[in-house]
């Protein structure tokens, strides 16, 4: 029954779908990230320990997935909220999307730069 779909699709179908996909990625990767940081390595926040942890390819992979999906999910979520208030007219919504994409790509670039010693 069509009326039983909960989400509004105002933000676009792909944004809606990606928001769900990134949500699930974040739940899985954030669980790993939090357990590694705060359960297995609690109190070991100094540079050497963190660097050693990041030296594992799996940890870096989880962090990059988290970075990308976190940024997308956060900024798209912010976009959905803002579109409920001042950015509902189409022109403003498009401008907002462009600005958020720029912010997102810069954040992704910055985060990748920060992780680069372990990626390369």
């Amino acid at each position: 029954m069509k009326a039983e779909t909960v989400a509004t699709h105002r933000g676009g179908m792909w944004a809606w779908l990606l928001q769900r996909i990134t949500a699930i990625l974040i739940i899985v990767c954030l669980a790993i990230h939090l357990v590694l940081t705060h359960i297995f390595n609690i109190g070991e926040l100094d540079y050497d320990n963190v660097a050693n942890r990041l030296a594992h390819a799996g940890v870096i992979a989880v962090d990059i997935i988290l970075l990308a999906s976190g940024i997308y999910h956060a900024l798209n979520g912010l976009r959905m909220v803002l579109m409920d208030y001042w950015f509902s007219p189409r022109k403003r919504a498009v401008a907002l999307s462009v600005v958020l994409w720029v912010i997102g790509l810069v954040a992704m670039g910055y985060g990748t730069w920060a992780l680069w010693p372990w990626i390369s």
Partner: protein
């Protein structure tokens, strides 16, 4: 209601009042908090590039106040995650009529997860104990 079919699932389930409304309000608030936190997290964590600066910075997070704030963050994340799971389930048409029960089941799971993190953090809540040294 008027003729046009509505896009939302307010199929008499009361999604936009009471529990459902507050779940939505808190979902938004927690989402916005997490956007801000993510920005701060990326900036502060990336200071790992600056060697010693990183260790000095991380020292801050051993302070009990930081641990309490961390636990608040865990609570916000867990709320957003578990309520998000409920929303995804509803997207698949699961539990729309039972959304209140699903909400409280999700919250119970969140509380259990939180208790786990809180238990681990207890040692770090007292100045000069396990975590103090850094």
């Amino acid at each position: 209601m008027r003729g046009k079919p509505r896009e939302t699932a307010n199929v008499g389930a009361g999604l936009w009042k009471g529990t459902g409304m507050w779940a939505w309000v808190l979902f938004r608030a927690s989402g916005l908090i997490l956007v801000l936190y993510l920005a701060a997290h990326i900036v502060i964590t990336s200071m790992g590039h600056f060697g010693d600066t990183y260790d000095d910075l991380m020292e801050i997070f051993h302070h009990p106040v930081a641990v309490v704030l961390d636990l608040c963050l865990v609570a916000v994340v867990l709320y957003h995650a578990l309520n998000g799971v409920r929303i995804i389930l509803m997207d698949f048409g699961v539990g729309i009529q039972q959304h209140k029960i699903v909400f409280w089941v999700c919250m119970a799971i969140a509380v259990i997860c939180f208790a786990f993190f809180a238990y681990v953090a207890i040692d770090y809540l007292v100045v000069g104990s396990a975590g103090g040294g850094g």
